[in-house]
């Protein structure tokens, strides 16, 4: 009697547990599927581009394959439809918490990259002419890597040649930067008011901030997204217009067709504002190019003015967009100029630029005038510090002093609330203040335990967590470098050649991927620098680098959130109290 009672209780408990677990899985899966609607919309946009080029029938570009886009769009909308159907058939009441939010983001990115990879496989990744020789697994990983690189706004490519692909594929690649700059889920749940899952937790997992933001309610989460999107769109429009103007009037050799200018301006803007860095030319923005007759000319956009525009907008996108919002919509310039992170960010850019410029000017092999070299220095610093990864010069052949200064930018990264990746300037500011506080404590025998940065007080606990975050970031950097060296000891080029991996390549590739930057600081044996690509790395190394890009994009903290316990969550939510309670009550009613 007793036994059976206990047994039945146990099975009931197990049943509940299974049902709860199932509910949790569904509640995570459904929003992740629904978010894929943004890919469907992106493919619709790509289809329009494709149709435009079919209409133009331009012999300079490879043949458009609109059916690939239609298939990819169907898959994305299919994922969305499945999500909607599950929600209708099996409505789950599980409230999304921080842990679920982290899992949603993990799934969203996995699905988005896989669907994009599907499109890329159809388009013949990595080399359309000989796609069959690579095998499906290699093609999938290459496509996945490229998509991850796009959405994380890294901008590393595994394509030996970009120009071998039709315009629509190139457009879609760059477009992923613009979406990923804001965040795949962040963008769609801001636009889609009817989204039925708690937004705050999802945004928190996707946006990379040193401490977690907690939104009061759904309205506040939507508003924060709307503010971001407003600034993002305004900056994008200004950037596009400036690029159109410079493209039309300052190009070395004028565009043959008007739509070339529009295409370049749009795709370059996507990369600059998303701080991504996929080029539309094999020569990126302005690398030197050798023509068939042997003359060397400036390639890419062929336009120093556009390079200046891009350099500034990459830096703008690397700033906290909330400061831009204050400036544009609240007319508060002081908020921007009094911001410590803003000052540190620009001080870093200006000092590195001047440092590199000084080194370049004393370099006997330098190309161009002083102004040209200033442009190279400024562009290279902003492209790396904002984690974009465009190139207007091959910085891997610079003197070692200039490379060393530029390598500092690799470690830095953009600002909090920007579209950039990396460790973010704010963390270094916090680290600086923390070190200063601790050292002054030792010197003067003080007991300070907190300090203020930009109106936010950091105590030992928060600053310690940020420090731990940085340490883990560097550990991942080293571990990634070692893993890349282990798994890709020999590199096989697409054209059949091979080379041996060297330590520098492994390390610079690791930081370029983890920091969402793109080109490695030196070319190395694999030719992965400013002029090269990552096509020669082994498949395993590409998977590792894709994971590193993801970690670099969402931040170490989101990965930690995958394992957070209930008690841990309560600590994060301490100011989101739901119960009403007055501690006087027991005194009164006793």
């Amino acid at each position: 009697m007793n036994m059976s009672q206990e047994e039945s209780r146990q099975t009931k408990k197990e049943g509940n547990f299974l049902k709860r677990a199932f509910d949790e899985v569904v509640s995570v899966l459904v929003p992740a599927l629904e978010v894929q609607v943004i890919l469907g919309l992106s493919f619709v946009l790509t289809l329009l581009v494709s149709w435009f080029y079919i209409g133009m029938n331009d012999p300079r570009f490879p043949v458009e394959q609109p059916m690939n886009i239609v298939w990819a769009a169907l898959v994305s909308f299919g994922a969305f439809a499945i999500g909607q159907i599950i929600r209708k058939v099996y409505p789950v009441q599980t409230k999304l918490d921080l842990k679920h939010g982290a899992f949603v983001i993990l799934l969203v990115w996995f699905f988005a990259c896989s669907i994009s990879s599907f499109y890329f496989i159809l388009s013949g990744f990595p080399v359309p002419a000989q796609a069959e020789t690579f095998g499906l697994w290699r093609q999938y990983v290459d496509g996945f890597y490229e998509a991850m690189s796009g959405f994380t706004t890294t901008g590393t490519s595994i394509l030996p040649s970009v120009e071998a692909f039709p315009r629509s594929v190139i457009f879609y690649r760059s477009w992923t930067h613009w979406v990923g700059g804001m965040g795949i889920a962040y963008m769609i749940i801001t636009l889609w008011r009817g989204f039925q899952t708690r937004r705050g937790e999802i945004i928190n997992s996707e946006a990379e901030t040193p401490v977690f933001m907690l939104y009061k309610d759904e309205e506040e989460a939507i508003n924060s997204g709307a503010e971001f999107l407003k600034v993002y769109v305004v900056l994008s429009v200004i950037c596009t217009v400036l690029l159109l103007i410079t493209g039309a009037y300052f190009r070395v050799t004028p565009y043959t067709q008007w739509y070339d200018n529009v295409f370049d301006a749009l795709t370059m803007m996507f990369g600059a504002l998303g701080t991504g860095g996929f080029g539309v030319y094999d020569t990126s923005v302005g690398l030197m190019q050798t023509l068939p007759d042997g003359t060397r000319v400036i390639g890419g956009l062929q336009n120093p003015m556009s390079e200046w525009v891009l350099a500034f907008f990459m830096a703008f996108a690397g700033m906290n967009l909330a400061l831009w919002y204050m400036l544009m919509f609240k007319k508060k310039a002081s908020a921007m100029f009094n911001n410590t992170e803003f000052r540190a960010f620009w001080a870093f850019i200006i000092l590195s630029t001047l440092g590199i410029w000084a080194v370049l000017m004393t370099w006997p092999d330098r190309i161009g005038t002083a102004l040209d070299n200033l442009r190279y220095a400024f562009f290279s610093v902003t492209t790396i510090v904002s984690t974009t990864g465009y190139a207007n010069t091959d910085f891997s052949v610079w003197p070692i002093g200039a490379i060393a200064i530029l390598f500092l930018s690799y470690l830095m990264g953009g600002s909090v609330g920007s579209t950039g990746g990396g460790l973010k300037t704010l963390r270094f500011v916090v680290l600086y203040k923390y070190c200063k506080m601790q050292i002054l404590n030792v010197i003067h025998g003080r007991n300070d335990d907190s300090f203020v940065v930009d109106g936010m007080r950091y105590d030992n606990k928060t600053a310690g967590l940020i420090l731990v975050n940085m340490i883990i970031y560097f550990l991942i950097f080293f571990a990634g470098a070692v893993l890349i060296a282990l798994t890709s000891a020999t590199i096989y080029f697409v054209n059949g050649g091979s080379a041996t991996m060297d330590l520098e390549t492994a390390f610079t590739a690791a930081i370029a991927n983890l920091g969402n930057i793109g080109p490695a600081v030196i070319n190395g044996a694999s030719n992965s620098g400013a002029t090269g690509n990552y096509s020669a790395f082994s498949v395993t190394a590409k998977v590792i680098m894709a994971i590193m890009m993801f970690i670099g994009r969402v931040g170490v903290l989101t990965i930690v959130m995958l394992f957070i316990s209930r008690v841990g969550q309560r600590n994060f939510q301490h100011n989101r109290s739901t119960v009403e309670f007055d501690s006087d009550a027991p005194m009164i009613l006793k």
Partner: protein
């Protein structure tokens, strides 16, 4: 900016605080609820009465954390916040633009409100409540008054009017 609302139970800290936060587009934090949540106890367990040392320690933690909260915040303070000076010291040190407002209500009015929300209370319960409130008022009134910058007599005011008065006081 931080606005601390003092007051005994039933003086309208929560009602006024929520309205005020909405008006100022600030966060609203109810200290007692946060402390309770951190204690891990249930509101029916009388942790406050049974484990006073634990409660006060947690309260210090909460004060410290709220005082470093980055956004503008309206805090409905715990009733016994004034009993430990350190709580307020955290706010004075860490929070720029601190306003402390005491929502004063006479013990008779408070007792009426509390009895009103406990319709099942017997005659002896009501007397006990009235006595307890009087006791608590005597203990705390002076402390509240001396620690706050503004005292608002809420006996004959509606919550909306109190909000207006607080706003006027802040703008000064």
């Amino acid at each position: 900016m931080k606005i601390l609302l003092f007051g005994l139970i039933g003086s309208g800290k929560t009602t006024v605080g929520q309205a005020l936060a909405k008006e100022l587009n600030a966060d609203f934090i109810e200290m007692d609820a946060v402390t309770l949540e951190r204690s891990g106890f249930d509101s029916t367990e009388e942790v406050y009465a049974v484990r006073r040392s634990l409660w006060q320690e947690l309260e210090l933690d909460v004060s410290r954390d709220i005082s470093t909260h980055a956004n503008a915040t309206v805090v409905a303070c715990s009733g016994d916040i004034v009993e430990n000076e350190l709580n307020l010291e955290y706010f004075r040190e860490n929070s720029a633009a601190l306003h402390i407002v005491y929502l004063k209500a006479s013990p008779e009015v408070l007792a009426k409100r509390i009895i009103g929300s406990h319709p099942q209370a017997t005659q002896s319960d009501q007397e006990r409540i009235t006595n307890n409130i009087q006791q608590l008022f005597n203990d705390r009134n002076e402390l509240y008054t001396s620690h706050s910058m503004t005292v608002i007599d809420t006996d004959n005011l509606l919550p909306a009017d109190v909000v207006k008065q607080v706003l006027a006081e802040i703008q000064k």
